[in-house]
Symmetry: C2
Subunit: 205 residues, 2 copies
């Protein structure tokens, strides 16, 4: 057997990732994942036994990605708050450029299969429980100093996430209208700036 760049096990996982992300758990079929991976259908079950199993592998990896980005976003605490918020928006946005199908996938599986929410909640709960109160305190301090306008940390985060995520969620649909004539990365760059602008104007006095 020659040396392949990837083992079949990995190839199957990659193919599963693509199919699950695009079609969801129910829309994806183990037969077509196997076909896409270029292996016999039996191989898929040999390595992962069940469809459920294979899905969970994909799902957990994706959930981890999300919880990591939340933590990473609020690092760099030694920087003025407004600047840090700006940087957070940008790095969060950049992360989404690299993981465009991720939000839609998670949202969808979490809603259509509520039994899977626990996995998500467990990963994300602590992060939320720590990040929000800490941010709230910082915001309140700045408000007292008269530097920014009052806002709840939860609202600020939801503002940022809404603006950043939504473009990617609808991107495959709006492209078909071609209103964004021209190049995709210009479009994204423009959106990133627009989002920063919106949030900065919301916060600045």
């Amino acid at each position: 057997m020659e040396i392949k760049d990837k083992s079949k096990e990995e190839i199957i996982l990659k193919a599963a990732e693509v199919e699950f992300m695009l079609k969801g758990f129910h829309g994806a079929k183990t037969t077509s994942i196997a076909k896409e991976a270029g292996v016999t259908h039996a191989m898929l079950h040999y390595y992962y036994r069940t469809k459920e199993n294979l899905f969970n592998k994909v799902f957990e990896t994706k959930v981890s990605l999300i919880s990591d980005i939340i933590v990473r976003s609020f690092a760099n605490s030694h920087m003025p708050l407004l600047e840090r918020v700006k940087l957070t928006i940008e790095s969060h946005f950049n992360f989404l450029v690299e993981n465009q199908e991720l939000p839609r996938f998670l949202i969808n599986e979490l809603i259509s299969q509520p039994e899977r929410r626990k996995i998500f909640e467990n990963k994300i709960e602590d992060v939320i429980g720590i990040v929000i109160p800490a941010l709230q305190k910082e915001l309140d301090d700045e408000v007292l100093k008269g530097n920014i306008r009052a806002i709840k940390a939860f609202d600020l985060i939801l503002d940022i996430v809404s603006l950043n995520v939504f473009v990617f969620v609808v991107f495959p649909i709006i492209t078909s209208f071609d209103s964004l004539s021209g190049n995709t990365s210009d479009f994204f760059e423009n959106r990133k700036q627009e989002n920063v602008e919106l949030i900065m104007r919301r916060l600045k006095k």
Copy 2:
């Protein structure tokens, strides 16, 4: 046969609506729709022949709702622009309160089943082609008069839609964190104001 409030045909459609909205085309099963509707499985096929057919009935109704709201949102042209934008944000938000599962459903089916995009595009295309240029002109006029800051109509609409829609898309997930202790309608009311605030500050000089 006694007089029922609804015919079986309608009951089936309603049950289908619920199941398709929640689980998508592939996740929904005609057997469980029939069960939910309290009819034998054969009745579903008697009235709608195929699953595809039944799905399309639901899908088209939902697409119409969306295209209607876009048109309605930009009525009331005899009103100062900023005020009109504010009203548009609010009425769009109110519409979403009444149709919370709608955006996620559409986004998802449109992405996982690209063959259905045409139905959507046809309904929405004209509306977009008329609304955006008209709005752009109005915005440009106000910019020249020195009343607002420059913005592309497309960006403004995407800003509004992002902020308004996203809360509902993730709502079933964030409720489980219970950060929004207290009542749901207060939470929504607060979000609506936050969104108006953001957009107004973006536009005002």
